[in-house]
Subunit: 522 residues, 2 copies
């Protein structure tokens, strides 16, 4: 695994923008929830990850149970939670003559409360695994954990009490938090119950990722990524309409570009606003397209005027990466995300994203009557022509990418979204993709979103819905309460990190079906 | 291991007494301390527990060091601490893109930061082992742990950061707490530096055990035991003179006797005052002798009048345990502490403690002009005669205990302290004990205290001092910063709990040399 580390980079802080973002900081809505059942984790090789949770008793039975050293239980909150856990604990037997030592394990999925986290050996930090061991000195007592967790299942293990007492658990609660204002939300009126369910789970996914900022996932990485923001914002315009949160996030990104003017791929908010030292070709361009989408949704000209110079700068920087032919330079050391896929070449899809962004930038220049418009239009023409000349393989009927002329789903999907070919050619291209099924496929709901949107663009609603049913509907059949970061229907154990234990099972970039269904009136 | 569990017992709460205790609640003195060196744990079979800590660098060097996944360090605070830990942590490298997961291990002794606690397999709760694992979500940041720890050494293990950053540690501090008012303390003026050092460490031990109440040990069990209180009070009268804390503890015990009027062996203070369901023959009698000592030190007649009925009741209850011969009934199920020793028979030393307590009770009755005095005197004569008739083995020249006529150090020591024989006979008895060295020896400083006091009573100062030098002086040579709960010079791995990892190394009943040295002007 490669990581991007920028040493000695300089950040140009724009305190006005940071201040504007600060004033838009949302207040969080809080709600208290409780587990609804006690469950048992059962191994089942026919189930995703090999584990399921089966109800043994209603949660109300818990209060009468006693747990001593080495004993444990799992409760199921019934749906996905993002919030703060509290529990009442009382001693049973003699007065507690030693602290209670306990371990709490939080799971979005059954496997997380079934397989010990000590088995995890992936490259991404094990510190994301949601587990706490703690001592309780004073009993009876209420404990409230200071960290926020993302979970449906909670496993409680009593590591030790003493020979003189056991413990029993009274009320266990989660104070959930979200900045989504569900008063704007409306249930989808649709005859198809599966689409209604997909829509509902999309919205729940978005809701749980809407916190102080749009987070990518409340379990991991719990922060503002541009690629996720772009899709969350689209889903938000169709549902919660918390447009100020999009605005806040745009200003946050605009507050801390580097000294080249490039916007970071993601931001850390606490203890102070800091941009990550990961810069991605595609994500920086999405700053511009997200601003475009925001203006489309809000007509907020003031924000557009504020952020336009930086939005334009992202396009300029991307154009600087073109070679003399007008093609994005590929190399072993550049960074463009596109999808989680070890073998995916990023050149052609990045080229397509540049075109996609250029088109939206031109529209913004138009709104602003900016003289850069004609420069952008010339560049667009050049880049499109170069793409057809150098990346379009007439014989195969596919766009190719990189030195090895790789044919991937991602390249075709993004070239369709960029509308490099005409409508009819795009239709043929998409049909050809499905027919030939290039080896380099897709691993994330993020990439599947673009596939579905490409199908909608070529007016193949039927196929778009079919994909949504098999992919997001497939997640539901596999037990999703919220949509996941990663899902590969033919390799359900897929993780780019080394273990599905650390995958995020409520992930922003997976929330777009509600946008797709509502925007395109599926 | 046996434990005492009293089911369905009733507590007679005396709210007036509890209220009096509450008004005497001390304020804690706080001081901020810092580690003085970075150390390395080194195995050494010539050292107690097989581990020592060797300085590698001064603590000031720590700030420049970076620690990644799997790396760790140990700091030495230079002396024993009881308090609350804080530390500054900053990320080094890229912005921290995952929480810091770390483990903190606190050790009073080097072995605690050298041998993994997971190896502990004793019967007393592992929850006493001072270890925390925690996640730090926001970096840089200061963390302050909510629990109080008792330690000199702190091991910090970085379990995980991420591939993009490491951590460095700024100021590490401990806010120490004690209710001891050291303004009353005076350094011992004595020509013998070893006794000066023993005195100093005694006082430090007492100081670290003086908290909201007199605790037995700040690491374990962190609570008010009558046997410890009695000795702490004696040491306190010679040093800190925090007599109100003794008074508070007496009222706490008096606030929650059971429905027979028996005082519990120990109390839990939080969240509410609860007596343990352990009742010990000897400890209940020590309520009475501790009140006697308190009155001797303070002349506080009001408290004596308040607590006298309960003090008298402890003696009554003890007398009820006498058989028709006037000997304390032995059985497999009764509870008297005397010493940590699996084979020690408790009958004869308990008989002696009853005599010891009767004598002090008679003196209190005298002060109060209580008519019970003559009854107590009759009883005393009877019990002494019975002891000589049934427990004194003329042939061996030892007191015997239990069905198997066990000869133990404890029986002889307590019979001397109870002054059952005359002065000359007591002298001979003590000489005989050292000469014959009965198989059933002593394991605790608690029992050694009584040995030394018995020697002082028979005016064998020389031997008393020799014992103090070899026993408490031995602990110092073995690395004691504060005196220990357990110390057997010929079995330094001794623990009644299954592992010396869980022994307490700052333990109240070990603090008495300062009392012995000062009271008896050694």
């Amino acid at each position: 695994m490669n990581i991007q580390v920028a040493k000695d980079r300089k950040i140009n802080r724009n305190e006005d923008f940071i201040q504007k973002a600060e004033t838009l900081k949302p207040s969080l809505k809080r709600e208290v929830t409780k587990p609804i059942r006690i469950v048992r984790a059962v191994e089942d090789h026919d189930i995703i990850h090999g584990w399921k949770c089966i109800e043994t008793e209603p949660a109300a039975s818990l209060v009468d149970k006693e747990f001593g050293k080495g004993e444990s239980f799992i409760v199921d909150f019934g749906k996905h939670q993002v919030g703060y856990l509290s529990m009442q604990i009382r001693p049973v037997g003699s007065p507690p003559d030693a602290p209670l030592h306990m371990r709490l394990t939080f799971g979005e999925m059954p496997v997380e409360v079934s397989v010990p986290f000590s088995t995890y050996d992936g490259w991404i930090s094990s510190s994301w695994l949601q587990e706490e061991t703690l001592h309780v000195d004073v009993l009876p007592g209420n404990i409230s954990l200071p960290r926020r967790y993302s979970f449906r299942y909670l496993k409680v293990e009593v590591l030790d009490t003493s020979v003189k007492y056991k413990v029993a658990f009274g009320e266990i609660t989660c104070e959930t938090v979200t900045s989504a204002d569900s008063s704007h939300g409306t249930e989808l009126s649709h005859s198809d119950s599966e689409l209604r369910q997909i829509d509902k789970i999309s919205i729940k996914t978005l809701e749980d990722c809407m916190q102080d900022v749009f987070e990518d996932g409340p379990k991991r990485d719990r922060r503002l990524w541009l690629g996720d923001l772009r899709l969350q914002a689209l889903a938000n315009y169709e549902t919660f309409k918390n447009n100020d949160l999009v605005k806040r996030c745009l200003y946050l990104f605009a507050g801390v570009p580097n000294d080249q003017g490039q916007v970071s791929a993601n931001l850390f908010i606490a203890p102070t606003l800091v941009p990550d030292d990961t810069y991605l070709f595609d994500y920086s361009l999405f700053f511009t397209t997200t601003l475009y989408d925001y203006f489309e949704a809000t007509n907020d000209l003031e924000t557009l005027v504020d952020l336009w110079p930086l939005a334009y700068r992202q396009v300029e920087l991307a154009l600087e990466r073109l070679d003399e032919r007008g093609i994005v330079i590929d190399s072993d050391t550049w960074w463009s995300f596109i999808d989680w896929h070890e073998e995916l070449n990023k050149q052609a899809p990045s080229q397509a994203i540049l075109i996609y962004a250029l088109k939206k930038t031109i529209k913004l220049a138009e709104v602003l009557n900016d003289t850069k418009k004609s420069f952008l239009e010339r560049k667009l023409t050049g880049v499109i022509n170069a793409s057809i000349q150098h990346l379009w393989d007439e014989e195969q009927g596919f766009f190719i990418s990189g030195e090895n002329k790789q044919v991937s789903w991602a390249s075709q999907v993004w070239m369709v979204l960029a509308q490099v070919l005409d409508h009819e050619e795009n239709q043929k291209l998409m049909n050809r993709v499905f027919e030939k099924n290039p080896l380099i496929g897709m691993n994330t709901p993020y990439m599947y979103h673009h596939l579905v949107e490409a199908l909608l663009l070529i007016e193949n609603k039927e196929k778009a819905i079919e994909i949504m049913r098999t992919y997001w509907g497939g997640m539901i059949k596999d037990g999703a309460d919220t949509f996941w970061e990663l899902y590969n229907p033919i390799d359900k154990a897929y993780s780019p990190y080394g273990s599905y234990l650390i995958n995020s099972y409520c992930h922003a970039w997976s929330c777009t079906p509600t946008y797709l269904i509502r925007k395109y009136e599926l």
